[in-house]
Symmetry: C2
Subunit: 397 residues, 2 copies
């Protein structure tokens, strides 16, 4: 038997990988490098490039004119070419604690950072991410705490006549405690799916950390897919590896709201949970906020806690679904039953700010009680992570 | 209350996204386009580029000289510039059914395909993937079959003094059948982690499909992390978002093998499984094949089914761990107990081919019974997916 040392074999495996990396144009520089003072250096090797830029949400935003008015979009800045064709940019100031996304632009072509394997997909755009700790974003990190379980689960929806995929977070200790747990149903926005809150939203890390700190009650978090025309996230159903888009399937016509009890029924038969209004919360961002409004009022005995994160608030005049009929009458029934929490969060520059203001005016006129949180910024994940961090501790108390 | 139509809001959401995409250099062309005859067109928009190439494992491999001899690495070919700066390449022949990976190279810089959001990470390299169906790779697709649950679970290892993350696949029907299920422990190779088999290996899809076809028994598949110096995959532990490498932590020194019963114990206390040798299988690729050899012989009453996929077969002369001592004596004990299956798979051009041949010679000399599968190709995921597809149907019969 030929004797090869472990070291030699590992060297061999490495050589194979490095060879492949070299061929693939792999780079071995460090990027992003987060310095002790929270300034960050980005590096990109491109000896032949004429211009290398970086765009990301840590840069001062640019204004962009659209038909709906001016909107903030991530800024762009130049890297400087250094030795051996390695381009570099260091932030002039330390970055505040946050989860950031960025891409390089090399001679006009957007590219991911080959030295950073951490990526997030938002609809059809994949960008690199990094986290600056020491503040709010410590909640988004995996810390030395007990971790819950995250499962991708298929459930049957008799109403929709199909099986569908959802993400379920069960808190640490669930499997062995013997206790019943409350459930937060957490809904994504347009273009999202059952992956969105767990990836872009860092819901798993936020719940692990809030529960470990004693700030939130141990709870299940159920993240369904809000597009009834889809069984699962892109690539996770028989629809195959299609290209995601914002208008993947209509789901503001009542079918999601009217089939939602299938999800609750499934969760309450599969998991050891509290089967009562005071053990159920529903919250969602943008389109998911729209869904949360309508589901919670259409089933006024189902949820004691409702969270609207930058909700796409507007009546759907085109739908004949009973879900959307008689909004004010249904709200009266819902609020007469005095939900324990009706929480509304919106950013000052969100294009849905006015719609939310109008909705609050309606609630105010009727003296319906709600909690209001106004943040900086617009229609962005940064805000939705913050809202979840603030909303979850208010639940099931 | 200001009335906005749903259409208008969706248009607005879209405008916001498109604006962002435009800024990020997003592209709206189709790539890869899989034609009905299984030829494939790749497209990349780069009006200012001088040369755009593609590299991928669907191209004829190139030979690369290394200190360990010639190795096959993915080939490279040129795209042709067409209208509006969109470069294009169409495969001259239909591609055989397979899961393929590729990257573009723009003026020497490797980049991902911005029109394809499906990516796989292999150690520190992220590449785009696509699947050509109609043959073997139909097993790698999500098909219209019942789907199992995939969970990321943390377990406690008293032997290692830490909690650690693993991936658990439970087959469709597990939660409601009341039956006990057998378990396949499926181990990754050097540079891998508890994500590798579920992503690069398509283990979830393979098992869903084989079980639905009646070719494999319903079973759990447990995919642990083989690096005892790590708690979890990159980005999933308190170690943060570090850059993965091949030599992330030593794990061919005995600690993984000697702590493996912690995993079995955890699974058998947490899940409704068969707690007997004939209900347990262990298999692994490369370093995971090495682990499978040593775990199965060190605990000769634990596993009735053993699979070595391109196993890194060699005695570890440097380790003083009892795990590796007296190999031949331990193999005798293991084989005297007549395991139901001892399966060895290797590619003809694998750099570990000779080591596997030598190992088989040792088994042959002792008349130890094993099943041998020799495939084309080398030390690649294509082979490991095929081996799993062939190995799983042989289990628990």
């Amino acid at each position: 038997m030929r004797k090869l040392s472990i070291t030699m074999i590992l060297a061999c495996l490495c050589a194979w990988t490095f060879a492949q990396q070299a061929l693939f144009g792999g780079q071995t520089i460090e990027s992003p490098e987060i310095h002790p003072d929270n300034t960050v250096t980005f590096r990109f090797s491109a000896p032949k490039a004429i211009r290398v830029q970086i765009t990301g949400d840590f840069l001062p935003p640019q204004k962009m004119k659209t038909q709906f008015g001016e909107m903030d979009v991530p800024g762009v800045t130049d890297l400087t070419e250094g030795k051996n064709g390695v381009w570099e940019y260091t932030t002039p100031e330390p970055l505040p604690s946050e989860l950031y996304g960025y891409s390089f632009i090399v001679d006009g072509i957007k590219t991911t950072d080959p030295n950073n394997v951490y990526l997030s997909r938002d609809v059809a755009t994949v960008t690199n991410i990094f986290i600056i700790g020491g503040g709010q974003a410590d909640l988004y990190k995996v810390n030395k705490v007990e971790h819950g379980t995250v499962a991708k689960v298929w459930y049957n929806s008799p109403t929709l006549g199909t099986t569908r995929r959802l993400t379920v977070y069960t808190p640490a200790g669930y499997e062995t405690s013997g206790k019943r747990y409350p459930v937060l149903y957490l809904l994504h926005g347009a273009g999202g799916d059952e992956e969105a809150w767990a990836t872009l939203g860092r819901a798993t890390q936020i719940l692990d950390n809030l529960i470990a700190q004693g700030k939130a009650k141990p709870m299940l978090v159920v993240m369904p897919n809000g597009y009834t025309g889809m069984e699962a996230a892109p690539g996770e159903s028989e629809a195959g590896m299609f290209k995601p888009s914002m208008g993947m399937a209509t789901s503001m016509e009542g079918s999601y709201e009217s089939s939602f009890p299938d999800i609750v029924k499934f969760i309450e038969s599969r998991y050891r949970v509290v089967k009562a209004k005071n053990g159920r919360a529903i919250a969602g961002l943008s389109m998911g906020g729209f869904h949360s409004i309508h589901i919670s009022k259409y089933y006024p005995d189902m949820f004691d806690y409702v969270g609207l994160f930058s909700a796409a608030i507007m009546p759907n005049k085109n739908s004949k679904s009973p879900v959307y009929q008689n909004l004010e009458q249904k709200l009266k029934i819902q609020f007469d039953k005095k939900p324990k929490l009706y929480w509304i969060g919106i950013g000052k520059t969100d294009f849905l700010y006015q719609a939310n203001k109008d909705y609050r005016k309606l609630l105010d006129e009727k003296n319906y009680k709600y909690t209001y949180r106004e943040s900086d910024g617009g229609h962005i994940w940064k805000n939705w992570r913050i809202y979840l961090s603030e909303f979850a501790p208010l639940l099931f108390k």
